[in-house]
Each structure stands twice: as C-alpha cells, then as structure tokens.
Symmetry: D2
Subunit: 434 residues, 4 copies
C-alpha cells in the first residue's frame, strides 16, 4: 500500500486557505478516535440564532441545527460528505463525526473541548534545565514545560551522542532532544515561529570524524578514502570563535575555522496516529534538517500537527559545512535561547526559514533532484499564498531570484534550500503577509 | 548528526562470519541498558577449566577467568575493547559490559539468561485468529503467539485499509499487520525463513484507484492524468482467478486479469532502541516491500534483530503490477499459511527471496539508482558468503546472469530486485550453503 | 540556454496526429535552410481548383492561392503563424517559409521535391557486405544501400571494439555501426519497424571483463571489487549455444551460460541540424539501448527524423545480463538479417519494441527514476494513441499490467523497459491499431 | 558497449603527475591514426648520448636507441607495453606506435612534429569580430584566431538564440559560440586558464520565458504551472544595471533585479575521435555550464584535449538565478574580454573556477546526487594534487569547509559547485601550487 501522506497536515492547509476567522464564534478542539488511531481536528462554529448553526470542519463548510444542545451539522465539498452529530455539555462536546467519500463514509467517535482565548500576558522567559531527552518526535512524550506564545525558553541541549557540557554521556546517541515544549493555544492548522535568539557553546570540544558519507562519494573517491575512519576531536576556542582539529596532521596544524553554532534539529511532534520519526530523520515536521543557516538570528517556521505543537530541538553543531560530509558535524552541547510565536490559522505545510536578509524554503527527500523539486514547490506556495503571485509571475521571479544550496546529504533524506533575497520581494507591487 | 545505521544488525553480521558454533559451551542472551536504550546481544562462552574462559561478544574474541561465578573476560579487536564483568547465579548473569573505542569506552549494565536448546518437537500447525493489528514494526508489541522453528501458522490478514473478509473496517488503514509471532530460539544474528505455503482470497472484491504515483510521472504525464482520482472497485472471480474493474469504462469492460495473490508486507521488529518503522516503510527488516513475487511458493529470508524475531505480515494484494503504480494494488483480505524456519548463526543482512527457480536479492532506497546498488551489493554478499566466489568471479557471473526488476515506486523507498536463475548457480564448481 | 529538444521530432508528432492523408493530393519534401542549419519538413497540398489551395505544414493548416505556379498559402495555429511563398517548376518548389511566434517570425529559404508514390515491388533480400563503419548517428554519412519498405537486409556487424568475425580490428572501438541504410519513401513523421529475423554468431569468442560499472556499485561494493580489472575471454559453443569464461577461476570452470544473441544498437540518424550522437549514447533515435530483448523475433519501432530514415545497427552481444554490468556484455561479431517496414504518417516519438508476447515501451535518461517516468509516459502515449484509452483507463491498466525491467546502467543514459502482455490488450473492448 | 570515457584526458592526467619537465630535451606532438580515428599524444624524448634515448609516452616510461635517426624505444607500465618505432627527418618524425595490453597490442601509424619553444613576446590584445558561429565543440572547425598564452581577446557573442547586439538573428539557436581560438603551445595534458576580464551588455533587452524546467517540478507544481508558456522580454537598464520584465503583471511592474552578466558556455574542443558535443551539453571539456559565477573576475580552468586547446565561448546571460529555472536565463548578446594563460604539464581533469575569494570545483551529471559526487571528487583531487593533503586531511577539511550550490538543472546534465574559501586554504601548513 502506498506512501503514508501527512493527511492531517494537508487538509489543514486547505482549512487555512478558506477560513474566515472573524466569522467564528466558537472554536472546538476535537480528539477523534479514528478506528483506533487518534487524530486531532478543529471545528469552528457560528451560532446564527437559537436554532441555526454553520461551521467548518477540516476545510468543509457545514450548516445545521442546535436543538437543546444537540448539534447536527453537515456539508459536502469536493466529493467529501461530513456529518457532525454531537451533544454539548457546557465546554465539552461528544459525538460522532462521519466523513470521507460519499460512497464509503467513515464513522468515528470524538470528544471535544471548547477553546478559550488566552488571557493577554506579558511574555516570559522560562529557565528550563532538562533531565530527560527523547529520541523520537512523538506526540506521546509528556511535555516538559508549557509556555505561552511570545514566551522565551532558555535551556541546554546535549550533543548528538548524548554528551552534556561536561562531556558526560547522559543518554544513548542519535540526536537526543530537549523538549517537548507545549505552546498554549497552538492547534493543528497553525504555524509556530521559533526565533533563535542565542546559541552559545558550553564546552571547549566537539567530536567529529574524517570519513565521508556514502552519498558524497563516487566509487573512485570511496576507494581513495577507504581507510578514513578516525574520530577527530576539535578544540573550540570560544574567545576567538574558531575551531582546530586535534589530529596529528602537519598540514592542518594551523587550521582555524570560524565557528558558526547551529541547531541540527528543530521539530514538532507528528500525529499520534503516525509512527514517530526517529530524531535522525526529517520531513514536514522539521526534524534533523542539518542546515547551517538554522543559527542565531534565524526564524524556523513549522506546521502545528498536535495541540500545543510539542516543540523539540537538539543536535547542536559548533560548525558544519554544507552536506554534513563526515556524517557528523562538529558535534557539541549548546546553551539555547529561543522565542516561540504562534501564527494562528495559517500553515506553512513544510519547513521554512527566515533570516534577516532572506526567505528560505526547504525540501527534503531521498535524493537531491526530488528535494529540489520539493523546495521549489514550497517556495512557489509561499509566493502564491503570502504574495498572491500567479503561476507566471512565480516562474518569472524564480528564474532570476532563486539561490539553491545543498543543506545535507548525510541522512536518509537529503536536503535543498531555495533562498530568495527579501530585497527583491520588497519590490513587489502587492499587498502581502510577511 | 548522521544517518542512523542498523548498528546491531551490522555487528551481528560480523559475528556470524567469525563464530565457531561447535566451540561454544554456553550461549547467553544479553539485554543491555545502553544509556536508556535497550539493545540485545549474544555472548558465547567456552569454559576451558574451572578457572579459565574464552568467548565471543559482538564479534570480538574475549578471554578471562571465572572466580566463584564471578566472570571477568576481555578482548580487543579492530580498535574496540570489550570487558564483561558479571556475576552468575545459575541461569542468570548480571553485570557490566564496557565496549567501544579504547579511548572512549561506553559502560552499560546488562542482565542475561542462559539459552537452552529447544527440545526436539514435531512441527505443529497453529490456527490463529487475529483480534488486534499493528501499524508499526515495534519490538514493544506483545507477541500474539509463540511458535517453534519449523511450525506452521494458519491465519488471516486485513487489507491495507484495515478491512476484513466481510469488508468491515477493523482498524485505521496503513497496512495493519497480523502478528507479532515469537519464534522460539531465534536470536539476534540468526535468519528466519518464511515459507509462503498458501495465500487465498477471502472476499470477492479488492479496492484500488486510477491515479498514478508521483514517482512514475513526468510533468507532462502528471498534467495529462491530473483528473485521475477515482476509487476503483475490482471484482475478484475466485473460481477462475481473474479480476475485472467495476468502472463504467467501455474499453475495459471485458478485461480479465489473472490474479496472483501476494503479501505486500513481511517483516521482523526492529531494535527497541530504534524508532519503530511505520508499516508503510521498508528496509533491512523487510516491511512494506510490495514485491509481487512474495507469493505462494516463495521463501522470504529476514535477519533476526530481537529475541523471538517478532514476525509481522499483512497488506495482501490480489494482484499487483510492478511499481504498485496506483499507490494501491488490488487491496484485499487474505487467508495465509506460512511455515517459519530458523537459520541459526547466519544473517542475510538484508531481505532475500527464494523461489523454486531463482534467488532474489532486494534493494530498497529513496531512489532507484541507489536501490539497484543495494540489491547488487546484497547479491554480491550472498555469492561471497554462500558460494565463496571472489570479487572477480562475482563480477563475471553478474555480468551474464543478473535480471533486474523494479519492485515498487509507490512508497518512501523504491525497490529493485536482482534475480539469478538457480540453474546457473548449480553449475558452480564450489561447495556452497544454500 | 536550455536542453536541446528534438524539435523536429516533436513537431512531426503533432503532424501525424492531425493529418488526413486521404485529403492530400501532393506531398512535398522540404529542405529548409534554417539560419545555417538544415531541417526537413513535409508539406501536404490539396489543390481545390485552379486557383485555390489548402495544405498542412508542421501541424499547421494553411489556405491560399496558386497563381501561375506561384503558391502563397498561410495559416495560424496555437499562436504560430506560417506563410509559404514559393514558385513551382514541375517537380521542384523553391521559396521562403516564415514561421514561429507571430511577434517574432523566422524566415527561411527552402527547396522541395515532389514525393512520388513508390511503384509496388516484390520485397527483396539484399546481401550487403560492409566495408566501412560509423561511430556517430549522423545524417551526413552517405547511405551504404537503398532499400524499399518490406525489403530484407542480410549483412554483418563488427563487435563493439571494431573486431570482425576473424577477430581482426577493422576500426576504432566504440560500437562502430553497419549502415546507414536508406529506406525509400520514409519521411520525417513516419515510423520504421525493424523486424529482427536472424542474429547468428560468426566466431567462437566474445570479449568482456570482470569489473562492475560505477552505476551498480555502492562505495562498499566499489571497495570490495577495487582490484577487478581483468579482461575476460568467453568461449562461445555455437553448437550447444552456451558461453564459458576462459579465466583461471576454479569456481566458474564448469559454468555454461545459455547464449542469447542481441543487438546492442539500433538507431536512425538524427537531424543534420543537431550534433550527431556518439554510438555509445541513446535517446529518441534509439541508439545504444543495450536491451537484451532486442533479439531474434523482436521488432524495433523507431521514429523517422530524416528522409530515408538512415538506419544503423551494431554492437552485437552473444549474451548480456540486465544492466550490462561489466560495461561490456559478451561482445562479438554477428551475422544479421532484418526486414524493414514503413508505417507512414505515424510516429512513435520514442523507441518501442514488440515481441511475440509483449509490447515494450522504453525510457532512457541520466538516472533510473527519470527513465521509469519516460517509459511510463511512452506506454501511456501508446495506449492513448493506438487503443484510444482515456487517462483513467490507462491508470487502471498500468496498475495491474506493468512489468518494469532495467535494461542497462552502463552508459550515460540508464534505461527502463515497461512491458505489457499482449494477451491483456487483446481483452480490450476497443478498435485499435496494432 | 560501455560509456565512452575521455580516454585521452585520463591518460594525460597520469602523464602530468609523472613527468619531469626539466629532464626533457625534445617534445614531439604526435598525430596518431588509431584505426581510422585521430588521437593526439605527446612524446618526450631525452637523448643521453648518440645512441641511447629515454622518454615518456602517455604516462609510460620508455628506453631505446637511435640508429641513424631510426628511433626504437619501448617500455612497460601497469600491464601496458609501448613500442615506438620511427624515422626522424629533422623536425618531423613518422612511424608506428604499438600500445595497449601486452596480450592484444594495438598498432597505429603516426606522424609527429617537433615542438619548439615559443619566443617570448609581449602579451597582445586581439580585437576579433566574429563572422561565423559554431554549435558543436568540434576539433574540426578551423580556428578563427591564433593567440599566444598571456594574450587577451576582445570580441562579442550572440545570444543563445543566435541574435546579435541589434537583435538580428545571425544563426540558428542552441548557444552558437564564438571561436574556436587556437592557443599556441597548448598541448594535450596542459590546462588553460581563461580570466574573464570584462563582460559588458551590448543591447537593452534579454529574452526569457515564464515556464519552469521539468527537472524543477514535482507533479503538483507541474499541474499548477501548466499554462506557463509565455516568452518574457526583459528590459535591461545598462546605466543602473538592473533588469525588469516587460510583462503585463501588476505584481512585478516595479521589479528591478540587479544584473550580473555571465557566460553560459566556456569550452575546449573534444578529441576529433569523439563525437563533438552539442553546445547545449557540458562535461570534462566545460561547455554549457550555466553557472552564474562564471562572471567578471572569475578564472575558468579547462583541460587541453587538442593541440591549441581550441577555446569556444558564448551563451551570455544578463542575469541567471541558480538552476536556470526557465530553461532560458536573461539571454542576451555580450561584449567579452578574456585573457588566456597556459599551465603546461598540469591537467585539471574536470572544470574548476577561481574567484577572488574562493576555489570552486564543478560536477556535472545526469542527476544532482551524481553531480555532487563528481564535484566532491574534483575538489578532493585538487586538494590532493595542489595542497598534498592526504585522504584523512581532505575529509576533515571538507567537513567544515564545503559550500555546495546548484549551478543548473535546465540541461541534460545538472550541475553542482563545491566552493571553499581561499582564506581557509591559506591557513594550511603546506607548500602548494595555486
């Protein structure tokens, strides 16, 4: 059977395109038991008078009635028929949702809670000291901290091998993550913006090695480097922000490479009905993107799949060349400060980055040609949604403005970043949402 | 950080290459707490006299002493140093194992149980009626049945969408699996051979659709077929073993395609320290291979990663063209009879198939060129290990004997099967292990 | 600037789709001097009365006048405007053709000759002994023989290294070809069908080697086989039709592999305005397809690009595994008998093969994923054009009927063959053109 | 038969590695008739006394005798045996060269001319006005100008469609090239360095379009942009060096993109024994590299394949985004000033670029993953040859220093550029040749 698509995510995208937030009176958060698998949906309801309702579920517009707190609303769009039949008890709603193709509808029980607006609060900074780390982007791990949108988290990460600031192994390797952080009010269909305020080194060493990953080697290069399997310890000079390899190489003994700390992994949890990805993988949820522009000053945009978003990050690199050619970068522990914002009702669909000067659309796939197509589609959607460019305008702009970089070739997915200078977009004669 | 390698598997391969089963007196099954992650290893011990021991752990030869049931054995191989320091209490062993590079050893607690030879029993046939299904190849799901090597399982599978023989949806879709089955005596480093005795249809319909998967379409074909999104119901004529689409197509109204039932998925559980793959994925553990020669009469060889192997299967197809071009094949429920054998002390490393006339090495990767390389490497290892061919002989043989087929392009991994006629291998002038 | 498309071919395809051969009174063969590059076109004219004409040029319908043998006809289709302004002198026509986008028309001189129907003749068999061989699929090489459609050619080919039946090197290696053969009446937009009647070995040896091509090797396999660089002489037993390697391998000393002679290359010349492909390359013109089903009993369909088609063939293999994994197959000289038919007014666009039991659409590209897409598009076009299947029917049929094989990975292009059993197509409830 | 390797080039590389230029008394330029194909080789001879000689041919060291101007020298290296048997008549040498594997030597006639040192001359600037343009990188086109190493050429190029500075079409499109230029003293095994001094626009318009190339589009993006097929005229503001599209788009009406003129194509001719590549292709000879850093201030290094190098260039772009996503960039005519230097006795093997701040190794192949491997291998060879780094040092350096960009995906080959900052290489503690 076929490739498992992030179905929830895709439907959510269409929600965001159609919704009229101003017309919504009530917003419900549904937890659907879909034949044993948990799925989350949002139900927007608009009470017109004592008896008549309209609403939106998963991108389908519904109308119906409310009889003594018994709601029955239905609608059909694009061949899909939706019926919600439920009983309200104050802030709780329980019932049955039927949806899917008209000929073969799927019937599921759900419970829902009324979403209340967050009280306006002053943004806070949370000091968080992790005591456990996770190695899967699972929705089932208990959140380590709840924050409000706009809040800042100051915390630390262990390195990819699980070693902390004292080089003590705290957990098995494989990019153990700090988190998950629960962002209040974040719901499926929203986007979270993770502003990387500070990434600071917490020790004077980083671990790496001298071999090249298989994806970077032709047979002849593989044969030439077949004896490369040394671990390399890099000395980090935190004062001058340079790194030097502690190998016995004469040629490299004076090498000082400027440091550029970055997070290899930033992610949200995937749906509890999907297998949780290992923290070495990447996809629509972000993950192990290993892109060296995810550094101080950058903002990472990720789609919200679960209530609370469930943000994870880790896998700090003191420095990484494009491709992460050794399989490892300069792996080290970090002191991390991020501010998390919430963009309600819009979904990026796939990870995007903003730096002070550029917009960056990422594409990750099993091979670079496909990753480039995904990055291009990601940017095309960005230009269509936020700048209202039509396909011809998108074609013209990309032809002159696209910069493509390889992010990494070290993992199951390889990545391509498509970058456009903001200065060009500022020239556009269009109303836009940044 | 880098691609997560199936480390356990790889070390196990080297075990199998080096071990001398005849010299082993005692075999211990270790459960190692590797910094919070569970890993399984085998420890073979040979008691030379009351005080002196030798053994093998994860491919490394060890020697040492036994002092009043306090065992201390160590060894160094290929730059790795291993120390086992443990206390024996009858059939239980508890202690500490230290291993890894000499400069940075990793220290883990373990418990172990003595492996006792299975009593010789007459092979049995187990009638098993599943009541639950799983959607991840996890080692944490409780085995539904324990069998002995040589036993036969007669059971059923629901279709990829979770529908049973009455077309009742029993569970959310995504290739829900029957199993896991625990095979007594199977240990990491072994191989299980699943002989597919019978695959019989249990209903008269199969579900499919008319779109083509993205991996099979150039932009121009995508544009031409952009309106293909119909579900197609196929009628299965179980008497004449043909399928016909129940669409309103005039052209296809007389089409009768010969049925060829197959299992889309056959898998073992992965290590509990790794993220469990979704049942739509494939890899060294088998999984959603979607290869239409995994049918009656074929034997599937899979490496054992966990004690008991933990065998899963499902995703029956009444018929599937190469590639599984619609994302779905003719998805249906099946009645399944398999016999499971155990090949102790040898590991295939990657899935292989044997049919009455051919040996088939599989390769799965994000793109076909890489899958072809993996299939070729898989077959080269087979010829080297089982037929003792040297690299030049392997090159000569593959040049004239290789048949390559595309298995599927519908999932995250695409697959290539490299097939060699057994009749050619019978010509080889070598002692071999089939 | 962009990928050079086979422009002539593509325009010709649209000609064939639209033309009404029955309405044509006169057919002219134009040689156009397109800014220094030679291009061939067909002009179909229909003289309605003494003064009024209609016609078709390159897919565009034209109308106009004939004033004392001065023809002026024009038309516009799909944004392209065509004007033909010419003087007729019996069977010759000279003038100017203007075509291209309306805003920027391109003006070219041309000469044309009237195409006369071939007299009906009894098919002949031509004995042809080559004295020269070519290493590019050029339209500028003088034809070595003119034949009529339906005629048979009996000739020989040297091996890929240029060695003849006595193992005498006649020309530098690189797949030197026999031909080009001029097929009377073949014009751009037609298809030639090359029926392979006989392929017989002319010597008792074939040359090959033991290395594996780069495209088949992962880094680890490359390292294992890094010392494979021996030439291997294979003994051909023409009586029992088997091959055995003459190496000092003990393991292979009794190996006898059944022979299966095939042509590695069958091609037509490309347009004289394009760079002639080397005879190691493949594409829409056929070429070095290295597909082991191009053997006795198969028919190869190739599009006609030049007047006379200009057929080439060579690179005989006594036997080749899929992929041509050694870079060479069992390279040998052949005795070849082919019959060439002409399918007027239809173009395959891309090479196709017919065997007694299957239709085979080929795809060749720089990587297998793309080749698979091309093969699928090739078959989809075949089913649409010859069987009038709509996109949904094509999707349903391919899902159950596609067989994909890898043809070769040894050259700049890799190839995939999509095969469908004729027995299934015979079930279709449609009028079709075979 | 297999992929045609650039054999001459590869052998030449090994020459350059081994030669001791100081020990050479005489250098001969051989033109070898290799079974009908022309190949060029260099023969270095060292006359020890009246009767005894040593020398080097194609990387093989030879010794022998000179008897009355009858030279007979031979040698064996790596399983290849070479015999040169020739008669000298002043500055001419004619004879027979035998080479190849010992068991199957190949015998070819040759003529040779004595290479005399160029007189030292003051570098000149040549004003060259092209009257013809070429569309293949052929060694058979007569050089349009002879220059000395160090000389400067000031000339013009037409755009990819063949249009000149007045937008008059001068020749059929497909990147018609200015050249070939013959560089005196350049011989196979050398490298030419083309310093791009000035690239100036010669008109106020550039042609492009709004579609996206197939290689950049997933099926869904292809469907969304399926109606993109407009030509777009871009206005070039040469004073402010910006470009604006002259489309009726409201959104883009104020767009001003900074111009960055570049050469899409820079190439040397390939061996006359190989099929000449079309000017839309790329490879070891350079060609249509479509890399937007081949601009003012850059130096392009290309291997010399033919005597005189035979330099071509063309396909000017006023501006090009990475990938050349529209198939066309902003195609325009240019005024070009280049200085050509000769690096004798060293071969780059594959194109390399030097800018004021970076070294750039290019890789071109049918898909990006392979192009990345080729670029990595190209840079690894650069670091090994010019900086004497060992494989471990190369691995360590690439891991922190590699920047990968996509050059283009618009042609048969896609390209990747691996860039390293010169500032890092200046840190290396090694003697090096820049």
């Amino acid at each position: 059977m076929k490739r498992l698509l992030p179905l929830l995510l895709m439907s959510v995208v269409s929600v965001s395109a159609q919704q009229q937030p101003s017309a919504t009176n009530e917003r419900w958060q549904l937890t659907v038991d879909f034949y044993g698998a948990t799925r989350y949906y949002r139900l927007d309801l608009d009470q017109h008078d004592t008896a008549h309702l309209s609403g939106t579920f998963n991108g389908t517009h519904l109308t119906g009635t409310n009889t003594n707190n018994h709601l029955k609303i239905e609608g059909t769009e694009n061949g899909n028929h939706v019926v919600v039949d439920a009983q309200q008890d104050h802030d709780a709603l329980t019932g049955i949702v039927t949806f899917g193709e008209i000929a073969s509808p799927l019937v599921s029980r759900f419970t829902a809670t009324l979403v209340k607006p967050l009280p306006h609060t002053t943004p806070q900074t949370h000091e968080f000291k992790p005591t456990t780390y996770y190695r899967q982007y699972s929705a089932l791990n208990k959140p380590v901290l709840h924050i409000n949108p706009g809040d800042t988290i100051h915390t630390t990460t262990v390195d990819a091998g699980g070693n902390d600031e004292n080089n003590i192994k705290r957990i098995a390797g494989g990019n153990p993550q700090t988190g998950p952080f629960y962002v209040e009010d974040a719901m499926p269909g929203d986007t979270i913006a993770i502003h990387i305020q500070k990434l600071r080194l917490t020790r004077d060493t980083a671990g790496s090695n001298d071999n090249l990953v298989q994806s970077a080697m032709s047979p002849s290069l593989a044969i030439r480097t077949r004896d490369n399997h040394s671990s390399i310890l890099w000395r980090l000079d935190r004062k001058h922000m340079t790194a030097s390899p502690e190998s016995n190489s004469v040629a490299l003994k004076n090498l000082k490479v400027p440091l550029h700390p970055m997070l290899g992994c930033v992610a949200v949890a995937v749906s509890p009905s999907d297998a949780p990805p290992p923290t070495g993988d990447s996809g629509y949820y972000g993950g192990n993107m290993d892109f060296n522009e995810i550094a101080e000053g950058a903002t990472v945009y990720l789609p919200v799949i679960n209530p609370g978003a469930l943000l994870y990050f880790g896998d700090g690199h003191a420095l990484q060349g494009d491709g992460e050619l050794n399989g490892n970068a300069l792996e080290t522990s970090l002191d991390v400060t991020v501010t998390v914002d919430l963009l309600q009702g819009t979904s990026t669909g796939f990870p995007r980055i903003e730096t002070p000067t550029q917009f960056i659309a990422l594409g990750y796939s099993g091979y670079l040609d496909d990753a480039l197509k995904d990055a291009t589609g990601n940017m095309a959607a960005w230009l269509a949604n936020n700048y209202k460019l039509n396909p011809s305008e998108i074609g013209q702009l990309l032809g002159v403005a696209a910069h493509y970089r390889v992010t990494e070739v070290a993992d199951r997915n390889s990545g391509i970043a498509l970058k456009i200078d903001k200065s060009l977009l500022n020239n556009l004669n269009v109303p836009h949402t940044p």
